[in-house]
């Protein structure tokens, strides 16, 4: 059913994204030898998946609720801190695997509850005032970051140890790659496919897709849209918190991680076309690959990764010049 929906526009968007990916690949093979290419690609995928985990919720929430949730990065960071707290609070003698899984599950549950609470208590009174919602989520982000800084200190926590199998390296082509990054890629892939199936194949999904286009209409058809809003916001927050806890054993948990990932996530959803889920997923991977490639180039020739963060901004500008609504975005 959905394939019939994909018009020329969709094919054209895919083509642009595909050409860009091929160009990146070609660039990689031109500059680096194959061992490094493999590492760059895997690194791009792992970064892309983390961006995806933050941006996915933002994009769906923006589409359905018309709220640009600037607190999403802070939810990501909170997921890491909550996960670490659970990990460390379990009694001595608990196997590492159990701690690790408990931390992941705990982050998801915490994220879901927090998201539902924020939507019901803070966002709901403000649907008539969209600008206030942006200010509110920005304030929430600042408050959460400062709170964490106050409680845990500004420098961050020592990364917790993941299970042994995820705490080693494997040889990829002629390069070495941490298995934990593969785990991050796997988590991202599972969620990408899962959310996509949810949106395309289930009745909740079709209500969300319809609501993204016209939530008032969905309400007129007899759906309690407010309840769907709460559910979707909670899901988005849960995914972000899971992302934070997934990233943290590798990146560590520190107060500023929220802001860093928020900025990249905004770039990702702008490139993807704001409320398009597919666009967000593809854009996240492209941004990850761009970042990893430019990072490697920058390290190799300038001895500093400085160009990496600039490159994704340039990428965004170029995409917006070619297509002002983003890769997969349509004008309203």
């Amino acid at each position: 059913m959905t394939t019939k929906l994909r018009s020329g526009f969709w094919r054209q968007s895919l083509l642009i994204a595909g050409l860009f990916a091929i160009a990146l690949l070609a660039l990689n093979f031109l500059i680096f030898d194959t061992g490094i290419v493999a590492v760059v690609l895997l690194s791009g995928f792992y970064q892309g998946m983390l961006f995806f985990l933050v941006a996915a919720g933002m994009s769906i929430v923006f589409g359905l609720l018309d709220v640009l949730n600037l607190a999403q990065g802070s939810f990501f960071m909170l997921g890491a801190y909550v996960g670490f707290a659970i990990y460390n609070a379990l009694p001595e003698g608990t196997p590492i695997t159990v701690r690790f899984v408990a931390a992941l599950v705990g982050a998801v549950v915490f994220g879901g509850v927090l998201g539902a609470g924020v939507e019901i208590a803070l966002l709901r009174p403000l649907y008539v005032r969209p600008i206030f919602q942006i200010v509110l989520t920005f304030g929430l982000a600042t408050a959460i970051t400062e709170l964490v800084r106050g409680i845990y200190g500004p420098s961050g926590l020592v990364p917790v140890e993941p299970p042994a199998a995820l705490n080693t390296t494997i040889a990829v082509m002629r390069g070495q790659f941490e298995t934990y990054r593969l785990f991050i890629i796997a988590v991202g892939l599972v969620l990408m496919i899962g959310i996509s199936l949810l949106l395309q194949r289930t009745r909740l999904g079709i209500i969300i897709r319809a609501g993204v286009q016209d939530s008032q209409m969905v309400e007129a058809l007899g759906i309690n849209v407010r309840r769907v809003f709460t559910l979707v916001f909670a899901l988005g927050t849960a995914v972000a918190a899971l992302g934070g806890m997934t990233a943290a054993p590798f990146l560590g948990a520190y107060p500023a991680m929220g802001e860093q990932f928020l900025l990249t996530a905004i770039i990702v959803i702008v490139i993807g076309g704001m409320s398009s889920f597919e666009g967000t997923a593809i854009a996240a991977l492209l941004v990850g690959l761009t970042r990893a490639t430019v990072e490697q180039i920058s390290l190799q020739y300038l001895n500093t990764p400085i160009l990496a963060s600039i490159s994704i901004l340039v990428f965004m500008v170029v995409v917006l010049l070619v297509r002002p609504t983003g890769l997969f975005g349509r004008e309203a």
Binding site: K4, L204, R209, D214, A220, G222
Partner: protein, 266 residues
């Protein structure tokens, strides 16, 4: 007709926007099974009244009753569950869903298991059948798999009707269903509405700016003027009502004559 049961009733219904009395003290009775049109010039309060009837707006004062039940303060999404379907003045469809999916959302919205997210849509055969039936009625079967945004404007308005019909409402509230339609498509579209109304034994309330459109098919007409009811009656009574004529009908006649083909004006 006068013996008929009242299905929708307003008592002293008023909505003020600051000093503007958009709807002021309206007492309206809609009988079961009738096709009732609400007409009036721009600014008469038709759309505000319509939004009050469909619970999209809350009144400043007064109440709305559906089959004797006070529905004034029910949330908008409850309306569909009671058997009240509404359309909008602006075309409201889901552009990037297919025509079929558009209608199926409507059927599904009244189903019971919306929040079991793991149930695949395809399992629900009855949704499918109901949706196909609504497409059949509106003559859209051949474009079922097309994305709604690819439809012509006329077909989009038909799709809106199909979305409504899929829910099989008892009471249809239609806000200027012919707005934006090309002049030559209007009669056909109104015939479709009339057929749906008669065959489905529905009660239909039609808000219309172009009075030409409603004269031939309405059972009764309510004329709004400056937020209040100016007159209620059969099309013939309305067209002969001196007060209606004096107040503003002349102005509307002029507009109709400019608009093109004449209807069956008495």
């Amino acid at each position: 007709m006068t013996e008929a049961q009242v299905i929708l009733e307003t008592r002293d219904l008023s909505r003020h926007f600051g000093g503007l009395k958009a709807v002021d003290g309206v007492n309206l009775q809609i009988y079961q099974g009738e096709l009732h049109s609400i007409i009036g010039p721009n600014g008469a309060g038709k759309t505000t009244l319509f939004n009050l009837l469909s619970s999209t707006l809350k009144p400043t004062r007064g109440r709305v009753f559906f089959k004797g039940r006070d529905i004034t303060h029910l949330p908008p999404y409850r309306m569909a569950h009671l058997g009240i379907g509404r359309s909008y003045q602006i075309t409201n469809i889901f552009p990037s869903l297919t025509v079929f999916e558009n209608v199926r959302v409507a059927v599904q919205a009244l189903g019971k298991h919306n929040f079991n997210p793991l149930t695949p849509i395809e399992q629900f055969q009855e949704y499918r059948e109901q949706a196909l039936e609504a497409l059949e009625l509106t003559g859209l079967t051949h474009v079922a798999a097309v994305p709604a945004l690819a439809l012509s404007h006329g077909d989009k308005r038909k799709l809106e009707l199909a979305i409504l019909l899929a829910q099989n409402p008892e009471l249809l509230l239609l806000d200027e269903p012919t707005s934006g339609l090309a002049g030559e498509d209007v009669p056909e579209f109104m015939q479709l509405i009339e057929r749906i109304h008669r065959q489905g034994q529905k009660t239909t309330v039609l808000v219309e700016h172009n009075m030409n459109v409603v004269m031939s098919l309405s059972d009764r007409i309510t004329v709004m003027h400056q937020g209040q009811i100016l007159a209620v009656g059969t099309p013939q009574e309305i067209s002969q009502n001196p007060e209606v004529q004096k107040a503003y009908l002349g102005e509307m006649y002029a507009g109709i004559e400019q608009a093109g083909p004449g209807g069956e004006m008495a």
